[in-house]
Symmetry: C2
Subunit: 710 residues, 2 copies
């Protein structure tokens, strides 16, 4: 250990000598020049006052309790894990309280915690609960958490720097930060140079620390990679991890998480080296990433839970508080961002938070501008993307998502052309998200459950087409990561919004095409959703199209005759082993309807099939010995043939007023849904509505007249 | 028909000649003397302004649409049903708008609707959808709805009376109200004289109409019964339908509904004949009934859903708006009622609403005072009751209900000593309520589903003790209605709240005793709930104690090994046929625990049994061919013996912060729950908490030292 210490010191001093920048503290989210203004803002603007009060409460609670820096022992959610998380959060709160209140006790607290870590850190080996050496941290079971720890802690250090005696600073820098940075850049070099969000956290921690500790060498490697050749490092991460639209391939839940190190490091770069114009980099990519993060949320504040998402995550999350504050204050003051800030209910006590709180107090906010758009995926924007169709005001928005993006690596699900539907501030056709009780130790240590692979990732767990009861790409990651769906058409007209995409690789001999449109029709309050799913093949296949739904089934065009005893699983693998088959019906004329009531509103799905049609009513829970799965239910359309087309028209209608006990508009209006023809070139359907026949046509080969509706 | 018309006219004129009271209009909720003040109040007090705006919006919408008075045809939730409901609501809104705005167009609307009804009513036979002659209405399938229609309509008539030409009044009174009142008092005399809430609606409609139409004879019969002997009628209903504590035996959902005719008629009596001192009647019974209605709700605004309740019903319901306004303005201005009014978000545009809105605007509201109390059931207060234990502020209240009241007639469930548990503004151990999709025509016409009898009413559907897989009283109403549980003990100390009750008749040879306590213990944020359930018998029995729960199962002291395929029903009758048996475990040492996470908080139930213990994890849905049942799940304790005691200690702990993704206090603290002894005289248990042994003792025969805790 003594030898190690020496090596660290030597390296540290070497880096020290390279220092060239003038040092002012603090210089990150809160800057010395702005402290007085922020203090005044805390006294003046409600949201900043509230936000500071929360920070101060955390700080005061921390100061009232003994400092505990336990030897790392527990995995995610466990005691030492939570204690170390609490420490960095406490330090940042106390350090902020120091700057705003000027009370030295807060700085002393940070100093004492840091000195405690400094006295122990070098004795800690790799974390005993780590799963493998590559991912192992020292404070936490995953090094990712160590990176996060450092990002918070270095900010705290920057805030209290001037209040600390030089001797303590030296102890902290040489015995804690130096070995940490060595650990990050040397032991974790592979992660440091990996184009992956773990890499971003690592290099952002290193880069920000480099600025604060005046170690330019660390900044350089963070920005340009350990070889300083730009092939890895921060800029390479911006180039490769995001699409030109600012979309992060793992999906919104991870995008939100990945965002924080990007924006924090950007802010540091911008403060220390404004000449780098980091916010302008790649056509304002970071601003787009923040915007896209918000555009991949629904009006209930949650992110679209595609891939391994934790479903209750919202844009109230701290990463987006940073993101929104910085986007507004440092990049472009779009006033609809203030609406998000208001809903977040907090700002960062910082230069940016001041500006946001001030403008909110001045009444500048307008409702957030949710858009209908196609968000391109892939570093070059060539890997498909997400089609999002929205209608109505934020207070009662209809949103439809077509997932036509890339696999998104290990957290991706096998759900090409998956459809999500939201309305009335709730999920109607949801995605399961991940099978995980995050941070709950008694459920597999808070990690992913076995059912994340056997269920959540499988195609049938989604509102996606399943061929022959197998998952897309046979559930194999490598081929799935290799290709992406392609966008066929996107259009955003007030009365007709359309997204159409194709997936030709998920199955050996089946091409899937899904075209989703929202259509405003006279006499209906909400647009109809017309969903046309094709499976095109030269060979015979079985096609399943599940619609997982929220709410209660209250209407069917067919007599439901559910299994009364001896409930059986629908299959044996690919997720089907988890499905209980409750009821099954062959449908006359290949059409039918299913009516739901969800959050006091009615949703009737009218469907038709080009081949003989069966409907299955299902729930999950089979082959789940530990009862890990969360109750879910679906109606599943099943048909067989070579070419197959499913048409579904979702009608939103009526409501139940539970307080007044009245029901209106319970009856659906659409009827007689017919597939007139459907092949590779065209799908034409008709339906009746209020005595009138409507026609809807998709011309797959004619981009000029792709969709026709009358 | 002509003959009928003549008879009606003769009777009507006969009554007319008896009129003695001076007539002023309006004289009900809104009185002529107060109109100017209420108009001013509408301009001044936010809640009154808002409430009027809502009323006016309804009125304006009504005026903009054609008047439709369809020939009655459809059942509950159907087109004509909803149209006639809308008409009375529209009339009352328009009539109110007339008084406040002074605009005659509103009065004309009411006149035109009434004239339309007057032109048709006498042609309408009994409703074609009525199930039997006794219940049949003419406007609606159930006469109950006709009574309600008249109560709303007569108020509207009173409000526009002065604006109507005498000739139109004559038409309306002779061709509409006269035949309606004849129908109510003669054709529906049996209902009129029935001590039941349908009777209350009938006589209140008749009585209020009597006042407004100046037909004292109708008032007299309404108050004293058709024979005017006081054996039936309004006062008899007050005497017999409520307990001395103001509890209505059918339960909170029906209490709320039953309340409206009581308070509306009381208000009319008070206005027209204040000398009757109706609000003072039976020791201010009506005020108690309103208060009890609120005390049988939880802080999420819903009523405790015992018996055939519709679960989403809240005290925002119009009946309670009337109730709260009148209680505050006409009976006693308890300022905590203003808190309820504020949450209701509306007042009646009336004399009472003015007072409430004014005092709310003056900042007089304090949080509603939820109490820990035992609410006596039965006309004489001798039929058991509801024990309600509450802890904590309204913003985060723990509430436990022990249902130890009477059966409550046909809407009663067979759930003696049922336990409900609420916390964190949500249900933790819920009641299923009724099996019904209220007013949704496609689900059995909106009426009760078959599963209301086969499931919802059965004992096993509740958190109640089931002996030998049979329901209490074998699910038979007559014997159940004949007896009630008895209260053994009730105590309300700050740190120890207890309710204990006995049910000796539900099973032939088993006496059930349940004692529920909330116990504050140092070191725990929330009180522990200690639940001791005994089955006492000379003979061997199987005892099942289910805990239906909300949330996700995240911890068990035993390995869960759920059935993976071929799920089987747990039984064949008494509700057991609807239960899927997911998993079953024999427990070592007759103890164990089950941990839940519900709305981001942890609940661990530690249990112990005096006999060998099995636990079953179950869900419902078996033998439900039409998939009528709403997903529910439970853990069920099972044991066999002669005397049996189940002890359950529910510990509330920790939380998950989904925004910050942190989990704290996930580990329960209680351990080593032991039953030291348990018989007819005493139950003694011990458990460990934070290194200390606690003892809890119930002395069933010693009222002075009934419960001991240390």
């Amino acid at each position: 250990m003594n030898y190690l210490k020496k090596v660290v010191l030597v390296i540290f001093c070497a880096f020290f000598s390279l220092a060239v920048m003038a040092q002012t503290h603090p210089s990150l989210m809160l800057t010395k020049a702005n402290v007085v203004a922020v203090r005044k803002g805390v006294a003046t603007y409600p949201l900043l006052r509230q936000s500071y009060q929360t920070v101060k409460n955390v700080a005061d609670k921390a100061l009232a309790a003994p400092i505990i820096v336990p030897v790392p022992k527990d995995g995610g959610g466990g005691y030492t894990h939570e204690a170390h998380k609490k420490n960095y959060s406490n330090m940042l709160s106390a350090a902020t309280a120091y700057q705003i209140s000027g009370e030295k006790k807060y700085a002393d607290y940070v100093k004492n915690v840091l000195l405690n870590y400094a006295s122990q850190y070098q004795k800690w080996p790799l974390h005993p609960k780590s799963k493998n050496k590559a991912d192992a941290g020292r404070i936490f079971w995953q090094c990712l958490n160590d990176f996060v720890w450092q990002i918070y802690t270095i900010q705290a250090y920057d805030l209290v720097y001037d209040a600390l005696p030089a001797s303590d600073r030296k102890t902290i820098e040489t015995q804690l930060f130096a070995p940490i940075l060595k650990f990050f850049t040397e032991d974790k070099r592979e992660v440091f140079d990996k184009i992956h969000n773990h890499g971003t956290w690592n290099l952002a921690a290193v880069g920000i620390s480099g600025y604060v500790l005046n170690k330019k060498e660390y900044v350089e490697t963070a920005i340009k990679g350990s070889k300083k050749d730009g092939k890895t490092g921060y800029l390479a991460q911006i180039d490769q991890l995001f699409s030109p639209d600012g979309y992060y391939m793992e999906g919104p839940y991870y995008q939100r998480y990945a965002l924080l190190p990007f924006v924090l490091f950007a802010k540091a770069i911008n403060n220390y080296e404004p000449s780098r114009k980091i916010f302008e980099y790649r056509d304002k990519l970071l601003a787009k990433a923040i915007q896209t993060s918000l555009q991949t949320s629904y009006t209930d504040k949650t992110f679209f839970p595609i891939n391994d998402a934790i479903k209750d995550k919202t844009y109230e999350s701290i990463e987006l508080v940073y993101g929104v504050d910085l986007a507004y204050a440092d990049i472009k003051p779009e006033v609809d961002l203030l609406d998000i800030a208001r809903q977040q209910g907090r700002v960062i006590v910082s230069d940016a938070g001041l500006k946001v709180a001030k403008d909110l107090a001045a009444g500048k906010a307008v409702p957030f501008k949710y858009q209908t758009l196609f968000i391109k995926d892939g570093a070059k924007g060539e890997d498909g993307g997400l089609g999002i169709l929205r209608n109505g005001p934020n207070t009662d928005q209809q949103a439809v998502l077509l997932k036509a993006g890339s696999q998104g690596m290990g957290h991706g699900h096998f759900d090409r052309l998956n459809l999500l539907f939201y309305d009335n501030t709730t999920e109607i056709f949801p995605d399961y998200g991940s099978a995980r009780f995050h941070n709950i130790d008694t459920k597999n240590g808070g990690g992913y459950l076995p059912e994340n692979n056997t269920w959540a990732k499988q195609t049938v767990a989604h509102n996606a087409l399943v061929v022959d009861q197998t998952s897309h790409f046979n559930g194999e990651l490598a081929p799935a990561d290799a290709t992406s769906p392609s966008l066929l058409y996107f259009s955003n007209q007030p009365n007709l919004k359309v997204v159409s995409a194709k997936e030709a690789e998920a199955y050996a001999d089946v091409t899937m095409v899904r075209t989703v449109a929202t259509v405003k029709v006279d006499g209906l309050e909400k647009p109809l959703i017309i969903d046309v799913v094709q499976g095109l093949s030269a060979n015979q296949h079985q096609y399943d199209l599940p619609f997982w739904y929220q709410g209660q089934l209250v209407n069917t065009s067919f007599p439901v005759s559910a299994t009364t005893d001896g409930l059986k699983a629908l299959g044996t693998e690919n997720g089907y082993q988890h499905i209980w088959l409750n009821a099954s019906n062959k449908l006359q004329n290949n059409t039918g309807l299913v009516g739901l009531i969800t959050k006091n509103r009615f949703y009737t799905t009218h469907f038709a099939s080009s081949n003989p049609l069966e409907i299955k009513l299902v729930t999950i829970g089979a082959n789940d010995p530990e009862m890990n799965l969360v109750h879910s239910k679906a109606f599943m359309l099943r048909s067989s043939g070579s070419n197959q087309t499913f048409v579904s028209i979702v009608e939103t209608h009526g409501e139940k007023d539970p307080v007044d006990e009245t029901v209106t508009g319970a009856q659906a209006s659409v009827s007689d849904v017919r597939i007139l023809n459907s092949d590779e070139k065209q799908t034409a359907i008709s339906f009746m509505l209020n005595g009138k026949t409507h026609n809807y046509q998709i011309n797959y080969t004619d981009k000029q007249n792709y969709v026709y509706f009358r």
